[in-house]
Amino acid sequence: MGLRSGLPPIAEMESEPALERRVAKSLWRGLRKNPLGIIGLATVIFFILVALLAPQLAPYNPTLVHLSDRLLPPSRAHPFGTDGVGLDVFSRVIWGARIDLTSAVLVVVVAGSVGTAVGMSAGWFGGWWDEVLMRVTDVFLAFPGLILAMAISAVLKPDLNNALLAISVTWWPTYARLGRGATLTLRSLEFVEAARSEGATTSTIMRRHLLPNAIAPLLIQATLDLGSVILVAAGLSFIGFGAQPPTPEWGVMVSDGQTYLMTQWWIATFPAMAIFLLVIAFNLVGDTLRDLLDPRLRR
């Protein structure tokens, strides 16, 4: 029996779109058997819709102060009550979805693409280039992310954009390691060799062959990271190094509500629950993706 006995002859291999359709189909089948994954995905979609439709959904202006409506408990007019300056907590939580989701996506996209590019080029070219890039990665991994982010944000002037920049600076190394690992494994495989011998350029091989095959671990990491970034960004805002009041950002809102926690519990609790639900949803989706995409766990 030959080595390739388990695989169909090359001529019979599926075309790329057909393969993609099959993968998507099997993913969907796997997802349907995983109720927690479905709940997670539905929650994420729900929050995306809330973020997109914030102007339509929010009954009040999230930053327009109404001192006469201070500290009202949840009611029909204000489902989540009002805060210390009379802002409607419900409207602010809705707008917060937009800010917190966008923040997380921005950081993960920036850190993910920079890190992946660094890692793939290190793994592909190898030698001293690999050595240099990976040592730089090690340096950034050694940093206490939150403290460095706090320092950068403080030095540049504390606001949301600087905080996101600072978080991205501390976040890319994980992707560099993943991208390098995947590239190293794939580089020696037959189909990459074949593409190379056919004279494909490096960038074509990376885009057409390496990235699509390395995408699974990166995608899992990115999904889980969306949750972690929300926690870190909200944490930075909570201690004053991210979004500034009266921005309707969930961390800022929890911070605003902390002095009222014993008497007006709703001010901090609703935004905190929003963070919790969205983060748990990303974790559920990430876990499910890992179960479905990681062949070692597929039993």
Partner: protein
């Protein structure tokens, strides 16, 4: 590769990484829009004084020279002068670091004591209700914002029920034990001060639980995963085939092997706790380096923040080194790859 050889290589690598870290802390300190000299002498100081201080700190020299001076200073334990309290950053850190180590250690103890049994239970009852409960609790641990759990725990156990004391390391009426290590619990143990010991432990409990929860979650998941893998391995099958009692199979053969990857996670978690301490310490008024970092960052006290960053990176790297060496000792395959 012998273990000594491996250790030397890892140490050389760590020194290189720490040099890289100083390059970045130096970079951040020198691109600051805030002029450290003006911050020190004030905006209205005469030009001659500004120039004099600038010279004193070597800030009139070219950047590479300044970097060499900076490295020389760092190697001699001189991390600069804090702008906020005019004290050497190194003595500030010596003052605040023990409290953070005390808190992080208590948190990792909580995490191991809770996470390890939870993970084992989870693996043994895979997909049955104990596993589901552990899964829900660990999802909560990694998904709840720590700054909110801290607030809620304080509100419930301190304000509402009064079972536990509020923020700080000791109550107002408890005299602090003589400072030996700087860790209240350890110091009161050394000096036989039982009142301070009890009060210190009660103060330590809530922040340690809040901080340790997410690490407990990570340890539980890791233990579950690696135990399930090991339970399917040949050695375990052999032990079962020999007719050994199931409990003995699990404890002697499976858990011991499953612990190897868990050790790594514990080390990483400990490093992570140092920065998780930023939020927890700020809320619990815990006088550690996390709270010091927050206060310094608010004051744009750059030397102080960079001092904390450097020390935290050093601790993290050393913990990582120890973890790697322990791992290499436990699992010889690592040394050869």
């Amino acid at each position: 590769m012998s273990i000594a050889h491996y250790a030397l290589r890892r140490i050389a690598l760590m020194i290189f990484v720490l040099f890289g870290v100083t390059l970045i802390t130096f970079g951040v300190t020198h691109v600051v829009p805030v002029d450290p000299v003006l911050a020190l002498v004030g905006d209205h100081a005469p030009e001659s004084l500004v120039q004099q201080v600038r010279k004193e700190f070597g800030l009139d020299k070219p950047l590479p020279v300044q970097y060499v001076v900076y490295i020389d200073n760092v190697l001699h334990g001189n991390l600069g002068i804090s702008i906020a309290d005019q004290q050497p950053v190194s003595s500030d850190l010596a003052q605040y670091l023990p409290a953070t180590i005390e808190l992080a250690t208590a948190a990792i103890v909580v995490a191991i004591v809770v996470g390890l049994p939870a993970g084992i239970l989870s693996a043994l009852y895979r997909n049955r209700w104990p596993d589901q409960i552990v899964r829900i609790l660990s999802l909560g641990g990694v998904s709840l914002p720590v700054f909110f759990t801290a607030l809620v725990f304080l509100a419930i156990f301190y304000v509402k029920l009064g079972w536990l004391p509020g923020p700080g390391q000791l109550g107002t009426y408890t005299p602090a034990p003589p400072r030996i290590t700087g860790m209240v619990v350890v110091d009161s143990l050394f000096s036989g001060d039982w009142a301070a010991l009890v009060d210190g432990l009660r103060h330590l409990f809530l922040p340690a639980v809040v901080l340790g929860w997410s690490s407990a979650a990570i340890i539980a998941r890791m233990t579950r995963g690696s135990l399930l893998e090991v339970l399917g391995a040949d050695s375990v099958r052999t032990a079962r085939a020999k007719g050994l009692h199931e409990r003995r199979v699990v404890m002697r053969h499976a858990v011991r092997n499953a612990l190897i990857p868990t050790v790594t996670v514990m080390g990483l978690a400990y490093g992570g706790l140092l920065q998780g301490a930023v939020l927890t310490e700020t809320i619990f008024s815990w006088p550690g380096i996390g709270r010091y970092a927050t206060i310094s960052a608010i004051n744009v006290d750059v030397p102080a923040v960079m001092g904390v960053t450097l020390v935290a990176a050093l601790i993290y790297s050393v913990v990582n080194l120890i973890v790697d060496l322990v791992y290499a000792y436990l699992d010889p395959r690592i040394r050869f790859s």
